[in-house]
Amino acid sequence: MTDEPKDIPSLEKRERLAGAKVGDRRVRIVRPGGGQFKKTHGHYVATERIFAEGRGLAGLWQRTVRLLVGRRLTTEAEGEERVPVATGLPILASDNISSSAYATEEAMRVLAIAGAAALSLTMPIAIAVVGVLAIVVLSESRVIRAYPNGGGSYLVARENHGTIAGLVAAAALLIDYILTVAVSTAAGVAAISSFVPAVHDVRVPVSLALIALITVGNLRGVREAGLLFAAPTYAYMVAMFGLIGFGLFRVVSGGAIEAAAPPEPFPPTGTEALTMFLVLRAFASGSVGLTGSEAVANGVPSFRKPETRNATITLVLMGTIFATVFLGITFLATRIGVVPDAHELETVNSLLTRSIVGDGSPWYYFVQIATAVILLLAANTGFTGFPRLASVLANDRFMPRHFADMGSRLAFNSGILFLAIVAGAVLAAFDGSVTALVPLYTIGVFLAFTLSQSGLVRRWLRERGRGWRASVVINSVGTLVTGVVLVVVAITKFAFGAWMVILVLPIIVWLLWSVHRHYRDVEDMLVLPSLTAAVPTVPQPVVIVPVSRIDRAAAQALAFARSISPHVKAVHIHTSRESGERFNERWQRFAPEIKLDLLESPYRSLLQPLLRYIDAVDKSDDRPITVVISEFVPAHWWEWILHSQTAVRLKAALLFRPNTIVIDVPYHPEDSADLVRGPD
């Protein structure tokens, strides 16, 4: 080897070789990376080869993960992972669109308590809900325009009302996304159990299995999740538009439609008087249809360029589709005179379909299956929203940092897995009951809406840009309407379970704030006063090498210790004077130049005398202390139990000791070449 030019890359080895003739020299270039690194624009880029699949159990696990999740994607592929409107609609709007399947029924069920005559109020309530949705869509389109990087209500509230309001909005949305997953899965499974009654008894395990399936779909990345969920969403739209179109045709053409009777209809006289509170409760229940409409504004970065435009188009499409299906179903149900079932044995949707297309028609089954599938897949909106919001919060240091890390498929894996676990736990805790879960729902959404709408009003008033007056009016109306709905929902649903959300919300806000405080404290501790300050110089440390036996592992650790400092002390703990003397005798033959301290431990304890010895050295010497631990690493994981793991216990004990550097020198049995190597 001769001296090399200074710009030789550090992962490259060059050998100059002589040729047969004087002028025929050649340079052999060895790139030890073996294709694991590529050099581009003066720096190394890791290639897919660094993920070489292991053998045995580890390899099997890696292959299974790749099979389930798919090939790794590079960060540059993120643009390709973004979705157009056609895929964005099923990903981000399926929750809202699917609500149209049960929003009518939810309102009707409350009104039916006051008797059949009260059901005529369903249509005005539906119009009011759609009116609120129109205001929400209009207001949310302003959010998309003002905050194109996503984050939605959290960012708007935080920037305009302050951190605490932002955290309240974030906590409300996080809760709501978890509930979206739990409620949608439970509702989907309930729809299946209408067909297959046997499912009812195993609804929790079936729901958990479905959550696992959606989780895997999401771990494969946003685009693939969209492709997976696109077909059912469009199938539902075709089914419902077909049903409504045919129903309207039959109404207009003057044919009398006979309402299908449910197994156990509500009594026509009613059990309660029709009060304002009952009407408001019906409105609050119908408002369940507005959940999921914030997902588009939160997920703007999931869209292809131009993101803002695509997100707005998706938002408007979502609102139009929901309104059409919801109003269509409500109009037909009230016109035909469908009465809901008192014990949820059959859905209004099913009754209406039977009334229009008749029992046993293929279209009936198509509508029912499409409804069941879209209800299940609406859970995916939670999976799109939660990880993205968690990543925004993690970037702002309000959630643990790994929520901001993208996985091998550019999905936020931590957020997806966390959501799956929590939603699964909530679902299991409520025994998979939709009725028990629904009251917890919607309050979070309306709280977030109210905060973001009022936040935007403050923003427009502050900035006074072009068209600010119109924006102030739109968002003020939005604030008022969503605020009123929030109060109505909170009051009417409080006793039915909304109190739990009201209780949990401040706890989550406090947790988010505590995480932030921790990160801020750590940053204060770690920040450098200036980048130009020189890297400090420390004196050479006193190196302590605990030696239990004189062997190859100990020799390697001592050799390494001597390479970092001339002040090396070996320490041996023995249980009797005789064994200590024997050890010392061997030591004097092995390494007489290295000072050996012998510690007798009559109580046979190993760790405590060693820790106290380190304390004593620390007190008697001003230099920093470094402990070099030799560790034998067995060839197979199951051989670990055959070794006492003193090194691991010592490392754990020293981890929290201040001013102590612990260096582990592992010794692998298969590694016949010692760490101590001479020059090549």
Binding site: P5, A20, K21, D24, R25, R26, V27, I29
Partner: protein, 142 residues
């Protein structure tokens, strides 16, 4: 003749996969070894060990591709990336150093002035090598 150790010189032309397959078909039946070599020719105005990242990256890529082709044909091969003033001399010297029995060198079908063009490197390897040399010319496209 048994080709136990075969050196394949790769220039990054369309003939490369054919040359690798020829070398593997000769070495595999006798449980021999194949060493694929690519030489980056360094211009005289640069130092012999100048850092030529683009050329080395390309060389590494075509050697990786050769290893892949060989693996498909059922053989693991050794690869070597070199820098030299003249490719032929480096190929011949590496062949001597590695004590190979045969050098396989390929050339795409090219014409110059109406005649098939062999190229300087192929000619010089043919003339300079101490071991046997097999020159593989791609078939004519006509």
């Amino acid at each position: 003749m048994q080709a136990k150790r075969v050196l394949v010189a790769l220039a990054g032309t369309s003939a490369d996969p054919d040359v690798i397959n020829v070398a593997v078909s000769l070495a595999k039946p006798v449980k021999g070894e194949v060493i694929a070599v690519h030489v980056v020719e360094v211009p005289w105005h640069l130092a012999l060990d100048a850092v030529l990242d683009a050329e080395l990256d390309r060389g590494e890529e075509l050697l990786d591709e050769a290893a892949r082709v060989a693996e498909q044909a059922g053989m693991r091969i050794e690869t070597e990336l070199l820098q030299a003033r003249e490719a032929a001399a480096a190929i011949v010297d590496t062949a001597s150093e590695k004590k190979v029995d045969l050098i396989v060198i390929g050339m795409p079908f090219r014409r110059r002035m109406g005649r098939v063009y062999v190229g300087r490197t192929v000619q010089n390897v043919y003339v300079g090598a101490h071991c046997a040399v097999l020159a593989y010319r791609q078939e004519s496209p006509e």
